[in-house]
Each structure stands twice: as C-alpha cells, then as structure tokens.
C-alpha cells in the first residue's frame, strides 16, 4: 500500500523548472531513495512535501489525505518528520531539551497553554527523550549544548528530534553529508534499525554506498524530471542514469 503519492508535481522558480510533472509512489514500510545530480530538484520536492513550497501544479496524498495548502506544523503533526540538508536543531539548548521539546510537541499537539506545568516533573517525557538519544548514540552528551556537537552528531541529534514524534514517514535530506566514513557506517546501521520498526523512509543521498545499502526503491531525478525508477539493481545499470550523472560520453 502506498503511504505517499506524489501526483504530477511541477514547480518553477521564475524561468527555472525545478520540478516537472513528477510522479512518485512510496510504499509503506519501505526505504525509498531519491537521487540525482546537484540541482535536480530533490530538496525542492521535499519542500513541497512538507508544506514549505506551493507547487504550480499537481497534488500530494499522504495516507489518503491531500497534503497541499497545509502549514508545515500541521503536516508534521500528521506524521511526517524531516531532517534538513543543513542540520536544523536548537543550537543554544542542551541535547535533552532539544529532544524534550519535540516529545512535548508530540504529547501536547501544536499548541498547549500549559504555563504552570513543571518540566522537571515530566519524567516520562524526559525518559523517552533519553531513550531516543540513546538510540542515536548521543546518551553521553545529553547535558551539552547542541552547538558544540560535531556536524555528524548534529545530524544524529536532528534525527533524534524527528524520531520523538514516532513519525510514520521520515524524510532525510543527505543525512550522511559531512560525515566521516565510520560515522556514515553507523548512520546506515541506525537507519536500518529504524526502518525495521515499520517506518517509511524517503532519503535524498549522494553517497551511493548509503543508497544501495538501504534502498528498497530508487527514484532518479534529473533537471526536475524522473528519469528512472526501480529496485537498486535495476537502476544501477540504467544508461539514462549514468548519463545524467556522468555526461553523455560515458553512457
């Protein structure tokens, strides 16, 4: 069953066609990669999915619900979480607070006027936040401020923030960019364990090791259009894909 269906989405910025009649269907419980050269429109597509950008045409359906014209926070409350291309965390707050904010948001919804509730007494919230931080391997840093983390750890933290919501769809924009080799390996392991918990993952990634290690399905975008789609083995040898990445003479 498809959890997310992208129908005929187009988006142009002035004269630049960033997306052109894109159709993608993501099956529930799978890991679906979105690859393509720089400027292919991958991040733009994620922006459409999370309500940041209005497409010029087309529709998006998530769990049988149309997603367009809904604000980002509502889309998030519906169960779509996103890791950005540049880590979006709360830099001045300690790790525990970073994740607790997300756990509270998941517990209380988009807005709650709970002025007099004590955070310190919200033990179950803190425990869950610590559990998630353990899951991403940051348990030994919960009291340090997020801005002091390495780039790789910032991404882990952002992932932890996203997991706090127990989303049914996780969008990842280059989760291993800027990571050292061993960090990338452990991120692959982490994402694998997450996807086993019946979560659907859409991942934008340039590192082909990551893509082939994780994907059930791969969609290739180039200049705003889908040029290939299928299981990893099918995409790997596709001449159109090689051409898009390396130029015509290599095809």
């Amino acid at each position: 069953m498809a959890i997310l269906v992208v129908n005929n989405i187009s988006k142009h910025f002035g004269g630049l066609q960033a997306l052109f009649k894109v159709n993608i269907s993501v099956e529930a419980g799978t890991t679906h990669s979105l690859i393509g050269p720089n400027g292919a429109g991958k991040s733009t597509l994620l922006n459409v999915l999370t309500g940041q950008i209005e497409p010029n045409e087309g529709s998006v359906v998530f769990k049988d619900r149309p997603l367009l014209n809904i604000t980002p926070h509502k889309i998030n409350q519906l169960g779509i979480a996103r890791v950005f291309q540049t880590p979006a965390i709360f830099p001045e707050m300690v790790l525990l607070e970073n994740v607790m904010a997300a756990v509270f948001a998941s517990r209380d919804g988009a807005y709650k006027f709970n002025l007099l509730e004590s955070r310190r007494h919200a033990q179950s919230v803190a425990n869950f936040a610590i559990e998630i931080l353990e899951q991403v391997g940051l348990q030994h840093k919960i009291r340090s401020e997020a801005r002091f983390l390495s780039r790789g750890d910032k991404r882990r933290l952002e992932l932890a923030i996203c997991l706090a919501h127990k989303p049914s769809l996780l969008l990842l924009d280059e989760p291993t960019a800027g990571m050292a080799r061993h960090e990338t390996e452990s991120t692959i392991e982490l994402l694998r364990s997450i996807s086993k918990k019946n979560m659907t993952i859409v991942i934008v990634e340039h590192d082909m090791n990551v893509v082939f290690a994780l994907s059930d399905t791969i969609t290739v975008l180039s200049q705003g259009q889908v040029i290939a789609e299928g299981i990893p083995d099918h995409v790997r040898g596709n001449p159109a894909v090689i051409e898009a990445y390396l130029g015509k003479e290599h095809a």
């Binding site: 904010a101 807005y111 007099l116 509730e117």
Partner: protein, 319 residues
Amino acid sequence: MGIINRGTIHLTVFALIVLTFPFWFEYTGGYAGLDTKIIIWAIFALGFDLLLITGYLSFGHAAFFGISAYATGLMLLHYSSNIIEAMIVGVVVSTIAAVIIGFLTLRRTGIYFSVLTLAFGEMFHTAAVSIFSGLTGGENGLTGLPTPTLFGEKMQGSNVFYLCAIFLIIGFYLARRITRSPFGLMLKSLKSNQTRLEYIGINVQFYKNSAFVLSSIYAAVAGSLMVIYEPYVATEFLEWKTSGTLVIMSVMGGVGTLFGPMIGAAFMLYFENVASVFLEEQWLLALGIMFMAIVVYLPGGFVDGYKRMMRHWVKKNQA
C-alpha cells in the same frame, strides 16, 4: 528534597528582599517613593522578559503600559476611586489592544517586527495627544484624579508600596513557573530555531502571540499601578522613550534571566535619581556610555557579570 526545594528558597528570598525593600532603601539616598516606582518598573521589565526570551524585541510596549494607565485614570476620574474596577478595566483594555497589535506585528521578524511595534506605539501616543485629547487631557496628561482607595482605605505611601510588592512577587512566581514549563521551553526554542520548532509540529504563531500578550499583561498591571502610585497620567507613559527605557533596562540587566531586567530597572531608576543630582542633564550621557560598555563587554548584562565573577571566585578558591 521534599517541600523545601530550590524554587521555594528562591521565591522566599525574593519575597523577603522585596518586602523589606523600604526599610533598607531609606539608607541609600533615594527619595521617598522611589522604592515603589522601582517595584512598578520591575513588574514591567519582568513581563517584558517573557517576550524577550522568544527573541522578539518590541519597541512598543509603552502602548500597553500607557493604555492601561489611561484606562485606570479615566475609571478613577469618572467612575470610582476604588482601584479594583480601575485596575481590571485597565488591564482588560490593554490586553485587547495587545491581542490585536500582536496579531498584526508578529507576522514579521527581527528589525521589521521592532519597527512595526514602534510605529504602533507612536500611533497610540499621537492619538492620545491629538484626536482623543478631549478624553485624555492632551499634552497636559490626565489630571485631577482622586486619591485611589481600596475597601475605603486610601492608597498612599506604604499601602501603595505593598500593593505593588504583592503584584511583583506573584508576577515573579508566575514568570518563573512559565519559564520552567513545557510552554516556556517552546518560547526558548522559538528564539533558537523557529523553523525547527515548526517542523516538530508546533504552531509557532500561537506561541509568539501568547508570549506577546503575557508580557503586555505585566505592562498593563505596571501602568495601572503607576497611576495608583501617583494619581496622574503623563503622556510620556505612551511615548517611545518609555519603550526604549524598558529595552535598555532589560539589556543592561540581562535578557532572558528574569532577575536581570528587574535589576536593570532598579539600577536605572536609582542611577537616574542619584546621578542626575550631580550630573544634571548629563546623566543620560553617562547612562549611554554605560549601556554601550555593557553591550560590548558584557552582552549578558549584570546577571552575566555576576555569574562570571562567581565562576572566577570559585576558581580562585579552588586553586
């Protein structure tokens, strides 16, 4: 630790300092009544901090202070000298204005928000001295108010002081609770990364508006108390200078610390009083220099300075 936790201790110490303020303030050279004025401005600054923790710098909070002051004054003048109705009307009217202005200004961030609030503030000031001058007394302010009363008791001298002190203590208790609540965490997150906050499913606009209105309620209480303290409404209550003073106090004391802005308020009023005696009009220049020095060398204000000193002291004693 059971019943006696750190929160209780902080609050008790704070209450003791505030309640005993008149006894020791007498020896510091301030004029009689300056202590009350300090308490009122501390309420104003304390509430302002609830907005500042979200990272939004309003230059128009004089509006809520002033609107409440005028409403309170008009109630005292035309309705009854009883402060209860006057205060309630003052705060309600001002809060309604805050809901509307917050809604209109919080769609912008950074400098645009600040300039918009400044414009709204000036709009109210201009209105008070022009089209509404029949009601407000124009440039002369609202004069001829009766001595306010509470249950038949005249509100003068130490009565006013303790009335204000109680509001400050309650205000401090609430502000502390707010900053320690999940709601307070959202306000802090708002300053840190608004996009991320949206992307954890938070309605950012609602939280901003709430912080704006909460801070305006403190401003309104302060404005109302100001009229009870001195039964007269000056047009300068609504002026941008009042908003500016509030900002300077908060920055000097330490934004986002709750204590800081209150200390900033005390410092500034006291400094104005003492320094203007021998520096006369030059006191503002001295203040300006001090303000700049703090912004440059101690961006966290007095509270940060105190923390640094304590850290230094601890280190020295460990060595």
